[in-house]
Symmetry: C2
Subunit: 80 residues, 2 copies
Amino acid sequence: MYIPTLDAALVGKVIAYYRMKSGVSQEVLSGLADIGRSHLSAIERGKRKPTLETLYRICTALNIKMSTVIQKLEEELEMQ
Amino acid sequence: MYIPTLDAALVGKVIAYYRMKSGVSQEVLSGLADIGRSHLSAIERGKRKPTLETLYRICTALNIKMSTVIQKLEEELEMQ
DNA sequence: CTGTAGACTATGGTCGACA
DNA sequence: CTGTCGACCATAGTCTACA
């Protein structure tokens, strides 16, 4: 069973979408979620994939559910 | 804004739940998901937290959606 | 405000062996 | 079948600085 790797660009796209929807900058979000700003930048650009922990912190800071973000991600994945 | 760390034990509990529901051993699942068995063992016991990538591989191998697992996790988190 | 880069640290992940 | 350990390697994540 071959499983393709998770598309980092899609993950970043979805996270950026919800951040912008909340109208907050990377700077502010990274501060709220307590993660490095340059790292958040890398995640949104698909240069890095977050751990579940990091996704959790981002979602909590944005006051949205992880499942909401994951569902959006799954929709994007299906479109590929 | 203080965000508590994600409870690794809960994450492991949920993953173990869905693995057992599928009736597959850690050995088989780690093989299907192409991740190390000792690492899967550590995740289920809450000794380590997976990356989004790893969760994705596990869910794909179990033929379930990540969002399903995340929702279950969120239910558990709310109960705490 | 965001992208990038470098240097570094922490931890996720692999593999083999054994209870 | 699962837990654990040790040695390693890979990459997530931090921080500073500058375009």
